[in-house]
């Protein structure tokens, strides 16, 4: 076959091993999956924004194909532990049969996955740009990985805003969580997954049970009114579409660049089925639009290109 010879495998289907499994918050868990050999080589290249498709069952058991489809999860971090082995972190909320299955997996169990998938966040060229990483709920995981990368690339003006419905959803990830937050808009090393990159964060909870009382957009707004940013700012965000839309509109009103990491119901995650269509403007100065695939054209998009009004939220 004359497939271009230069082609190197950018993704693969691999069997991996559960190496660690911790609680992140109420019904939310962090699982570390070990990849070796060819999987190691492939995943060493993984970038923030990318995701994996986990088979939440024994994929070789053809007699019991339920849940049928793989489940997509953002990569929350890549930890290279040796010259042939690395761990990827996935942080997941238990909401249905797939995530329930994940929850039951013990250290040592095998998990089949395909990845890394999708595009990734484009880093700002200027290392001094003011960067906001905004994650809501299980939109946080890609932000942890992005913080790692940004810091690696020398960025130093990073503030993360971690939104949650209530403090319990972050409970086990909070460092020094007994220390009361005096000024909720003062970023600090509150979340373990951010602390590893020394990224300070503001916590915003809908019920005010921890940190700022309000949603992430309100937190950002309040923060900016106290700390107007001079240099060009950029927002990177991930979370429910309602939140992303609010952030996108806010960013647009303030002329802040904004990249959003989208979700979509996925059947394949690898560009085959056209399931994960999201309406996107064809270019910034036209009304024309087309469906783009979250799994291969995304999940990261320039927030201005998304036709939010065409998306059911």
């Amino acid at each position: 076959m004359n497939t271009p010879n230069t082609h190197t495998t950018q993704k693969g289907e691999f069997s991996a091993r559960v190496a660690q499994h911790d609680t992140f918050g109420y019904d939310i868990f962090s699982i570390h999956i070990e990849l070796v050999g060819p999987a190691f080589a492939t995943f060493k290249q993984a970038k923030p924004g990318q995701f994996v498709q986990l088979a939440c069952r024994d994929i070789s058991n053809y007699h019991c194909p339920t849940p049928l489809l793989r489940r997509p999860f953002s990569i929350a971090g890549v930890n290279i532990i040796s010259e042939e082995s690395l761990l990827i972190e996935v942080i997941y909320h238990v909401v249905g049969p797939g995530t329930k299955w994940l929850q039951d997996q013990k250290v040592g169990n095998k998990i089949n996955l395909i990845g890394p998938l999708g595009n990734n966040f484009k880093l700002p060229e200027n290392q001094d740009s003011q960067i906001f990483l905004i994650g809501g709920g299980v939109g946080l995981p890609p932000m942890f990985f992005l913080a790692d990368q940004l810091v690696n690339y020398g960025h130093n003006q990073i503030i993360a805003i971690a939104g949650a419905r209530s403090s319990k959803y972050l409970e086990n990830a909070i460092e020094n969580h007994l220390i009361p937050i005096q000024n909720p808009l003062e970023a600090n090393l509150y979340l373990k997954q951010f602390s590893r990159s020394n990224t300070k964060c503001i916590i915003a909870t809908d019920d005010g049970s921890l940190g700022f009382h309000g949603n992430v957009v309100q937190a950002l707004d309040a923060y900016l009114s106290k700390n107007p940013c001079n240099n060009q700012a950029q927002i990177f965000c991930c979370g429910p579409h309602g939140m992303l839309k609010s952030i996108a509109l806010f960013a647009q009103s303030r002329h802040i660049e904004c990249q959003v990491c989208m979700e979509a119901y996925m059947a394949c995650g690898i560009g085959l089925c056209q399931s994960c269509a999201v309406p996107v403007q064809t270019s910034s100065n036209t009304d024309e639009w087309q469906y783009k695939l979250v799994c291969t054209n995304g999940p990261v998009f320039n927030s201005k290109m998304i036709l939010w009004d065409k998306i059911e939220i």
Binding site: I114, C268, L272, C273, S275
Partner: protein
């Protein structure tokens, strides 16, 4: 002489012959991709050694580009999935410009799936495609349940099936014509016969079964298009029945090969379809989930033939007692 024979036999036994032919097109083995689940060309190359397959079937191409149906477009059901993609595709022109040159690089037979709303559209697309010599055949999708404006009527009404296939056959006399049937009919032997009478070379069966899901919290259909097509392991018993029936009642006698599909996930599934009368098989939903299944199925068929000392896959096609 006798010894020679034995040696030949020996060779057969150690390496069973998996090749099959669809009329004049030889497939190295009977396992192909199903339309709409493996992209246009090399989308799967990172995950599948595509040159090891029996053949490649592209997703459906229509005359104009199509955006497809509004999301949500797929939904998981027990051991199955619903889809209402709505034939989203780049359209004939972009396909010819951008995809066909890539298709040329395939070393295995390539079949392009054609869809449309009118007979004229089917004819236009087919005529254009038949000019590319490395396209081994056209799979005419007369059965997509997700396009309201006609598609499904073509597939369920024997007269329309005949007229459509006849028109394409007349305009493309030489290319291998595979007609893809819908299972959503009372008696599939009738539409199968109509397709054959109108000049089909091969039958491909089956497309998806009509289905629906409801979100009880919003009280709306889950799919943006309300209804969709059911595929995956859940439908296998029904698809197998239909293949068996068409083989027994129509195709065997007419000497028309069948490409069987519907829920195939393992070599065992593929062998069931072959025993029921399928010359080749296509794998759809399972490729979305586990692309590696394609080569595993080929290996599994090989192992089966070896275990039972069957020299060629063709020895068991339709051999169900």
């Amino acid at each position: 002489m006798d010894r020679n024979n034995r040696e030949i036999k020996q060779k057969y036994l150690s390496e069973p012959d998996l090749s099959v032919t669809l009329k004049n097109v030889r497939l190295p083995n009977p396992v192909m991709t199903a339309s709409g689940t493996s992209g246009y060309t090399f989308e799967l190359r990172d995950l599948v050694q595509l040159d090891q397959l029996g053949g490649f079937i592209t997703k459906s191409i229509t005359l104009e580009p199509r955006k497809g149906n509004p999301p949500q477009r797929t939904f998981e059901t027990p051991a199955g999935m619903l889809n209402s993609i709505g034939l989203a595709n780049v359209g004939l022109e972009v396909f010819c410009e951008e995809k066909i040159p890539l298709l040329q690089r395939f070393s295995i037979p390539v079949f392009v799936n054609v869809a449309g709303k009118t007979i004229d559209e089917y004819v236009a697309v087919s005529q254009r495609l038949m000019s590319f010599s490395h396209i081994s055949g056209l799979e005419i999708n007369i059965s997509c349940p997700n396009v309201k404006e006609g598609g499904i009527t073509f597939g369920t009404d024997p007269k329309s099936v005949f007229d459509l296939v006849h028109a394409v056959r007349q305009s493309c006399p030489d290319i291998l014509l595979i007609i893809k049937l819908t299972p959503n009919v009372t008696d599939i032997t009738v539409t199968a016969r109509a397709a054959i009478d109108a000049g089909a070379d091969v039958l491909s069966m089956v497309n998806t079964f009509l289905g629906m899901a409801i979100n009880i919290h919003t009280r709306k259909p889950v799919l943006g298009a309300r209804t969709g097509g059911l595929s995956g392991p859940a439908i296998k018993p029904m698809a197998l029945y239909l293949v068996s029936r068409v083989y027994q009642e129509v195709a065997r006698e007419a000497n028309i090969p069948i490409i069987g599909m519907g829920g195939i996930s393992s070599a065992q599934d593929a062998i069931e379809f072959i025993l029921a009368g399928a010359t080749a098989v296509s794998v759809g939903t399972q490729v979305l989930i586990h692309p590696g299944c394609l080569t595993q199925i080929i290996q599994g068929i090989k192992n089966y033939l070896t275990e039972y000392k069957i020299p060629s896959i063709r020895d068991i096609t339709g051999s169900l007692e």
